[in-house]
């Protein structure tokens, strides 16, 4: 299973040059860029852990790429995502977020149906990976 997440989610994984180009686009718009990572990809897990601090006043993407590579080296089996935040008045939200790393093996999600009162049915989504403790997920074998 290939996790579809964020901007460009249905494109093939971006190469480093493409990542640099997207970050340059964000910086040109004055969006500070930050790097976040997680190994718990439930849809409701919106806030991932931050790697380093958001980077302000950059002109070129090299610094962000260095940060991404540090994060990749430390968490080779985590999802790593780049966030670009638009702070302009009236928007003040994430302008762009895309994956820059995914684990080699993504086992996917379990859909659970729960019978409620009056035959109502509720759904729950659980990642197979989260059956293991945090830090040991998405490890092959």
């Amino acid at each position: 299973m290939n996790l579809r997440h964020g901007t460009f989610s249905y494109l093939p994984d971006l190469t480093d040059e493409e990542i640099a180009a997207q970050i340059r686009y964000a910086l040109r718009h004055g969006w500070p860029v930050s790097v976040v990572y997680t190994d718990d990809t439930h849809t409701r897990n919106v806030s991932w852990e931050m790697w380093g601090l958001p980077m302000f006043d950059l002109a070129e993407p090299d610094g962000v790429l260095a940060l991404i590579n540090e994060c990749r080296a430390t968490f080779p089996n985590h999802y790593v995502r780049v966030l670009a935040y638009d702070a302009s008045l009236g928007r003040q939200t994430t302008a762009m977020q895309f994956l820059v790393q995914r684990p080699a093996e993504e086992p996917g999600f379990l859909l659970t149906r729960v019978e409620g009162v009056d035959r109502t049915q509720r759904y729950a989504v659980t990642s197979y990976a989260t059956s293991r403790p945090a830090g040991a997920r998405y490890v092959r074998g």
């Binding site: 601090l53 980077m55 950059l58 002109a59 070129e60 090299d62 610094g63 260095a66």
Partner: protein, 327 residues
């Protein structure tokens, strides 16, 4: 950049049905034959470099050795470009520099021009100079320095990192000073082959000499040491003329004499900082001119507003008392 086929109206842009478009011609140019000839001056970058060098010659008085060195570096990069067109690969020239010279000798100005030249020759991505001092690099507690330094490097990426008064990074009297950490991080970054960051260390000559001798690793990675000499008396006068003219002022005859007298006195005093002192002197005579004009209490003509008179210069404390050090 390939242009995607965009459907009219609402829809998702898709590559056209005729299959993937042929790849655009790659950036790699045609490699010239062994007996081909290449005219260096025909290079379109050369024209831009020549413009910048000409501007350097016009705007900066004196500094002969510096200008020659800047020209040499520009030629080196030009030849390197030419070699690549013949398919001759060699490692990227290292262009980290150190600018040593007294205060007000134009180190920052030359750094700005250098960035423009390096950009014109495609060595760096933007003609940008990010100026930092010790405060911007060294942290206040353990673990604070590395992120701060990396942030400065990230901001300078693709341009020039200008470290002003770089010798402050090294404090031999305090071995737990975080400056050493900055130097180590800078070293790894300067070693980085694919990064196109150029680091310029600037400072006063004597203290830079101790700084480099205490950090041999750093010294060996900085191939270009450029020394900025103090300006001579006629050069300073010329600088003053240029400054006054660029601010739309002018000295009248007696004022010119007064200023050259001022300069010869001021040069003998301590804390004389070349062009910066000249600028400050002019700023202060503007101040005295303004006061004089206000006290005239009569309608002013353009002539009055433009002219700096001898009185405006003789008002300086330099003339008041030869033992008085205040500027």
């Amino acid at each position: 950049m390939t242009v995607m086929h965009t459907p009219k109206g609402f829809g998702v842009p898709r590559p056209s049905a005729a299959g993937p478009e042929p790849e655009q011609a790659p950036a790699e140019p045609v490699i010239l034959g062994d007996d081909a000839e290449l005219d260096l001056s025909a290079d379109e970058a050369a024209a831009r470099v020549e413009q910048t060098l000409a501007a350097l010659d016009v705007e900066l008085v004196g500094l002969g050795p510096v200008k020659r060195r800047v020209r040499e570096i520009a030629s080196l990069l030009q030849v390197d470009r030419a070699r690549r067109q013949f398919g001759l690969t060699s490692s990227r020239p290292t262009l980290h520099m150190s600018f040593t010279g007294g205060p007000g000798t134009g180190k920052t100005t030359v750094a700005l021009r250098m960035a423009a030249i390096l950009h014109a020759l495609g060595y760096i991505r933007a003609p940008r100079v990010h100026t930092v001092t010790r405060d911007d690099l060294v942290g206040q507690f353990i673990g604070h320095t590395a992120p701060k330094t990396k942030e400065a490097i990230a901001r300078a990426a693709g341009g020039v990192l200008f470290i002003d008064e770089a010798y402050y990074l090294f404090r031999p009297e305090n071995e737990r000073d975080y400056g050493q950490e900055v130097i180590e991080i800078l070293l790894t970054e300067m070693e980085n082959e694919r990064g196109d960051l150029v680091v310029i260390f600037a400072g006063y000559p004597d203290r830079m000499a101790t700084f480099f001798s205490a950090n041999p690793g750093l010294s060996s990675r900085v191939p270009h040491h450029i020394a900025f000499e103090d300006y001579s008396y006629p050069e300073l006068l010329q600088i003053a003329e240029l400054m006054v003219a660029s601010e739309n002022f002018r000295f009248d005859e007696p004022a010119q004499e007064a200023f050259s007298e001022y300069l010869s006195r001021r040069m003998g005093q301590p804390r004389f900082s070349n062009a910066r002192s000249v600028r400050n002197a002019i700023e202060r005579s503007r101040l005295r001119q303004a006061r004089r004009l206000v006290e005239l209490r009569r309608p002013l003509r353009k002539e009055d507003l433009v002219t700096l008179t001898a009185d405006d210069i003789y008002g300086s404390s330099v003339f008041r008392d030869s033992t008085d050090d205040s500027r």
